[in-house]
C-alpha cells in the first residue's frame, strides 16, 4: 500500500535575520502492507505530519520517492488522491456549515453523484455514532463527534487506505476509547488499511499491528509492539516475598533468568529484574521457589512499555523528548498495560504471562474510563 524510500522534506525558516533550514523529515523509508494498521509514533515535531503530507500528495518531497496505493505521489497525484482518505490534524469540516452539506460536497468533489454520497454519508453517520447530527453545525458538536465527522469525510469515497493524523488528540478518555472502536472497525469490517499518527503510547499499542517510531525526522524502529518490547528490555518480574530473610536466596535464583543486560534489584520485600520472555521461565522459577520453601506474597510480570522502547532507542524518554512537557490532566506515568498479577498457586499451573505474543501479552490497555493516559503533550 505504501512504499517510501528516502523521503526528505526541508523547510526554510527565518528567525529574525538568520535563515535556517529545518530538515523536518530526513530520509524516511516506509512499507505498509494492505490491511495493516500502522501506528506512527513520535514526539512533537518529529516529522509525523510532514511525512503524512508527502504521502498524501499535499507536499512535494524535497528528495526521495513514494508509491501510495500503487501510484507515485509526484507523478500521479490524482490517482493517489482517489485511492486514499486523509483526516488531518485540523479536521476538515467548516465549523459554520452543516455537517451533512460538508460531507456531501466533499464526496462530490471525488466525482460521486449526489444521491450516492448522501446515502453513504447517512450510513456512515449511523456507523460512526452520529445519529441525528446530519443538519448540525460542527461548531455545536462535542470534540468526539467532530472528530468522528472528520473521519466520515475521510471515508466518504470508500478509500482503500486512510491516513489519520492524531485522531484522538484533545479527547477525553471515553471519547478516545469510543473512537478506537471505530478505528478498529475500519479494518475489521471495511478492510481499510490504516496509517495513524499519535503521540499516545497506549493508542499506538492498542490500535496498531505494527508501530513505526520516528524521531528527528528519522525512523528509529519499526516492528510489532511486542517485538519492539521483547527486543529491547525484557519483561519486568517483581516477586514480593513473605520472609525478608529469603530475599538474597530469591534474588540469586531470579538472577539465573536474567541475560546480563539487566540486574536484579532488591527493595523492601521485593526482588525485581528484567527477564527476557518471562512467560517461559517464570513458571519454572516459581516451582523452584515453592520447592525450597520461599513463600510469595505476590508476583507481577509486566511487559515493557513503548516508553521503555523509546528510551532504549534514543536514550531519551518519549515524554522528555517533548519540549512542551506534559499538560494533559491524566497521569503521565508510562502506561502500565498488561500488568499481570499472578498468585503463586495458579502460576504453577498455567503460565498467565505467555511469551510474546502470548495470550495476555498482546493485551493492551483496556479502553474505558479508567484507561491510563500515556499523554505526551
Amino acid at each position: 500500500m505504501i512504499h517510501a524510500r528516502g523521503l526528505v522534506q526541508t523547510f526554510d525558516t527565518r528567525q529574525g535575520r538568520v535563515r535556517t533550514q529545518v530538515r523536518a523529515v530526513d530520509g524516511v523509508d516506509l512499507d505498509v502492507a494492505e490491511g495493516e494498521v500502522v501506528g506512527f509514533l513520535g514526539p512533537n515535531g518529529a516529522g509525523k505530519t510532514t511525512t503524512l503530507r508527502m504521502l498524501t500528495t499535499l507536499l512535494r518531497p524535497t528528495a526521495g520517492s513514494a508509491t501510495v496505493a500503487g501510484h507515485d505521489v509526484v507523478a500521479e497525484p490524482v490517482q493517489v488522491r482517489r485511492a486514499i482518505g486523509y483526516v488531518s490534524q485540523a479536521g476538515g469540516a467548516f465549523s459554520g456549515a452543516r455537517a451533512g452539506d460538508e460531507v456531501v460536497d466533499h464526496g462530490m468533489l471525488y466525482g460521486l453523484p449526489r444521491d450516492v454520497v448522501e446515502q453513504r454519508g447517512k450510513a456512515l453517520f449511523e456507523r460512526m455514532d452520529l445519529p441525528g447530527l446530519w443538519a448540525r453545525m460542527p461548531r455545536s458538536m462535542s470534540g468526539g463527534q467532530k472528530r468522528r465527522l472528520d473521519i466520515v469525510m475521510g471515508l466518504i469515497h470508500e478509500p482503500q487506505l486512510v491516513f489519520l493524523d492524531e485522531p484522538t488528540t484533545g479527547l477525553d478518555p471515553q471519547a478516545r476509547a469510543n473512537l478506537w472502536e471505530h478505528i478498529r472497525d475500519l479494518r475489521d469490517r471495511l478492510g481499510v488499511t490504516v496509517f495513524l499518527t499519535t503521540h499516545y503510547l497506549d493508542e499506538a499499542d492498542a490500535l496498531s499491528d505494527r508501530i513505526v517510531i520516528i524521531d528527528h525526522g528519522r525512523i528509529v524502529a519499526s516492528d510489532t509492539a511486542d517485538a519492539l518490547k521483547a527486543q529491547v528490555a525484557g519483561d519486568l518480574v517483581d516477586l514480593e516475598l513473605v520472609d525478608r530473610d529469603r530475599l538474597a536466596d530469591a534474588a540469586q535464583r531470579l538472577a539465573t533468568l536474567v541475560d546480563g543486560r539487566s540486574e536484579v534489584e532488591v527493595v523492601d520485600h521485593h526482588v525485581r529484574a528484567r527477564v527476557p520472555r518471562a512467560g517461559r521461565s517464570v513458571p519454572g522459577l516459581i516451582r523452584d521457589l515453592d520447592r525450597v520453601g520461599i513463600g510469595l506474597e505476590s508476583i507481577e510480570v509486566r511487559r515493557p512499555t513503548l516508553d521503555d522502547v523509546f528510551l532504549s532507542l534514543t536514550g531519551r524518554s518519549l515524554r522528555d523528548a517533548d519540549a512542551a512537557g506534559p499538560q494533559e490532566g491524566g497521569p503521565t506515568t508510562a502506561l502500565d498495560e498488561a500488568a499481570v498479577p499472578v498468585t503463586p498457586g495458579t502460576a504453577t499451573g498455567t503460565p498467565t504471562a505467555g511469551p510474546p505474543p502470548g495470550p495476555t501479552a498482546t493485551g493492551s490497555t483496556t479502553p474505558g474510563p479508567t484507561t491510563t493516559q500515556g499523554a505526551l503533550r
Partner: protein
Amino acid sequence: MTFMRESFIVFRRQLRMNLRNPAWVIIGMLQPVLYLLLFGPLLEPLIDQFGAQNAYTFFVPGMLVQLGVFGAFFAGFSLIGEWREGVIEAERVTPASRTALLVGRLYRDLLQLLVQAVILVALGFALGMVASAEGILLGVLLTLLLGGACAAASNALALSTKSEDVMAPVINMVMMPVLLLSGILLPMTIGPAWLERASDFMPIRHVVDGVRASFVGDLGGSAVLWGGVWALVLFALAIWWGTATFRKENA
C-alpha cells in the same frame, strides 16, 4: 466538464455559507445604493469640468469598478478561516482540479459583483444615466474580469500569508494607490500632468477608462481596447498565481 462540475460544487458551498450570513447580503446590496445616492449629488455640479456630459454616465462606471476591486480584495479573508479549520487541506486531498477550488470561490465573488452591477445600473438609469445596452454589457464584463483578478489575487495572498494580521496591512497598502491613481472617483485628467503620468502606470486606471468609454458608447476606441487588454492580463496573471498557491500551499 469535470472542471465545471468541480468548480460549481465549490461555488455552491461558498454561496450557501454566505447566504446564511444576512449581513453579507444586506451590505452587498446597500453598498451601490449608498454610494450612488450620497456621492453622486456631489459630482453633479462639477461634471462640466470633467469634460463629461452626464454625471451618472460618468460616475456609475467608476462606482462599478470600485465595487469590483474593493469587494474582491476582501474575498481572501474568509479563506484564512477555512484554511485554519483544515477545509482547504481536505479539498486539496480530493482529486479536484486546483484551479476549480479557486475558481469556484471566484464565481461567488463574481455573482455578488453582478448583482451589485445590476442594482447600480438600474439606479443609475433612474437617476438619469444615459448608456447603450451593448456599452453596459461590455463595461460590466470588463469589471467582472477585473473583479475576478482582484479576488483571485486576494485568495492567493490569503493562502500565502495565512494570517489576517499580515494580510490586512498589505491590502490597505495596495488599495491606497489604486484608489488615488485609477480615477475611480474623479478623472485623472483634471489633475496636473505629473499625476496623470503616474496614473498611467496603474493598470486599473486603464480598465476604469475602458469601462467609462464603453458606457459612453465609444466601443471601438483605444480606451476600450486597452482596458480590455489590461483586464485580461490581470485576470490571467491572478488566476495563475491563485492556482499556484492552491497547488503548493505549504504549511
